[in-house]
Amino acid sequence: MGFFERIGNLDRRWIFLLMGLAVAIPIIIIDVTGFIPPELPMPKAKSTFQTLDDLPAGSKVLLSWDFDPATEGELGPMANTFIRQCAQKGHKMYFMALVPVGAQMIRSTTSDVIGTYYPDLVYGEDWVDLGYKAGNEAVVKTLVTDFNQMFPSDARGEPLSTIPMMSGIKDLTAFDAIVSVTAGYPGCKEWVLFASTPLKIPTVVGCTGVIAPQMYPYYPQQIQGLLQAIKGAAEYELLVNDWVRRDQFRNTLLAMGVEVSGEDSMGDLPSTSEELDAWAGDHVGKGLTEAQATEVRGFASEKKAELVAPVDAPEPGLFLEAQKRMGPQLSAHILMLVLIVLGNLTYFVTRRRGGGR
């Protein structure tokens, strides 16, 4: 039997083994070396970020975690990043789930992000966990007209009337945005059909790669942002990480008495005291006044060090997960391409030989 015949009759377990290696090896390499594959944010990820960024601080955002442990690998990182952006921006977060194990997903993501990185946020005032509600799209339809009928209490059993941030929430119109992270049914499609479209509430969606093509027709009219699987999550993560760093820098400056005005993006952030001096000079008239720039340049060296330290500090691993997972995705895709090419070569060679006989 020739090479191509062997390939043609290849036991699929060899393919499984190759795929296992193609995924496992990059995971180990990335873990050991810390290498992150480069990403380029595309328009859908940018508009996802922008939609939540355009809302003023304190806006009410409903986050529906409609995924389960099976798709956590694909959707978990974007869920964490959604929470990070909302928490950093100061939005009020209302978590709920349309699938039963979504409740556990809420618990784990809020504990990982809010519990670890935003411990100052107060439960009931800055975020609330409403838990899972059975009924699929019927839940969404009812929330459109009556919130309390579906959620008399939160996931911890506390009546909503005793939760300060629930005051004034009568129905879905009270929310400024909806975020749906979806693995299938029920999920983003139900939110789009029964809530965001009729009520015209800004909505961003993060979903698995398989169902993303179904959501494309809704973008950008009915949904304002769309993250497709781990690729979309990686692009969004990159945008949020960069913005958080800038926001933290801006806040530290503010705490030191210097307010960067307007929407100045602040360019490349300085990572040393010398760069800080140069940065202050460059931003006169952009975000700083001459007096503010002089004040920054005149900071004591410890103060300068405190200001620039976070700029080059390593990003917490939790907020690099999506970008890291693009490594195995790259090798798995290349393996699939190689397999497709091999399969076709085998097909043509064996067909020619068969035809020659």
């Binding site: 795929m19 990403e39 556990q104 059993g157 497709i340």
Partner: protein, 233 residues
């Protein structure tokens, strides 16, 4: 009678749901209709549980091939049911510390939560992860450039597979992103294929499906299609 009553219920509820779209006063009734379904489905779980027990107990008593699996199914079923029902290991509810059983059945620290965290979570994640292996083997076997359409499909697959990773920008970053040929960069091509060709195709299929659903629903409401009640006539 066995057919007539369900047919009347189907027609009445179906028509009510349609009419409620245009008569606001009926919208609450239509919400009640969907709630009724949830109640009936929950009650029907008893039937399902009974069937599960019957099938696996029978396999066990007959020592059928694979009876050990039935033993595992029944064991897991009862253990999960008991630890959830009796809230084993549940911490006291901070709001009602004096009341026993006031804590949540799936709070961290409960046995139910342990089952979720260390059995259910990894098992379902494993099942989903198996897709990667199956996709590879299906692609190897099924993606053949047999004709012109298949060649187009193959080309599209290459663009999407590369465009969805860092390989896309890496292979075509020599094309200036602001130039007239920026659309030929792999990540842009991939986005274009998804936005235009994929969306157009999806819409056509979805419109066909929507019409199919409307027509099938109408047949069911009119009692023309009774196969779901057992038999065609």
């Amino acid at each position: 009678m066995k057919r007539t009553v369900p047919l009347i219920i189907t027609a009445t509820v179906g028509l009510l749901l349609i009419v409620a779209n245009f008569v606001p006063a009926l919208s609450e009734l239509s919400e009640d209709g969907t709630t009724f379904f949830s109640i009936i489905a929950a009650i029907a779980f008893v039937l399902g549980g009974g069937s599960l027990l019957k099938v696996h107990l029978k396999k066990l008593s007959d020592r059928d091939r694979g009876w050990a699996y039935s033993l595992i199914v029944l064991g897991s079923f009862f253990v999960t049911l008991v630890v959830g029902l009796f809230k084993i290991g549940a911490p006291p509810n901070p709001a009602y510390p004096d009341k026993p059983w006031a804590g949540g059945y799936n709070e961290p620290g409960t046995f139910f939560n342990w089952i979720y965290e260390y059995l259910f979570y990894p098992l379902t994640a494993t099942m989903f992860a198996m897709l990667a292996f199956y996709i590879a083997s299906a692609a190897f076997r099924a993606f053949r450039a047999k004709n012109f359409e298949a060649i187009l499909l193959l080309g599209t697959a290459f663009i999407i597979l590369l465009g969805q990773t860092a390989a896309g920008p890496a292979l075509t970053n020599w094309i200036p992103p602001d130039g007239p040929f920026a659309g030929l960069r792999l990540e842009e091509l991939s986005a274009y294929v998804m936005d235009v060709f994929n969306t157009a195709g999806s819409r056509a299929i979805v419109i066909g499906i929507a019409l199919g659903i409307a027509s099938t629903s109408l047949k069911i409401l009119m009692g023309l299609d009774r196969s779901y009640l057992g038999g065609g006539n």
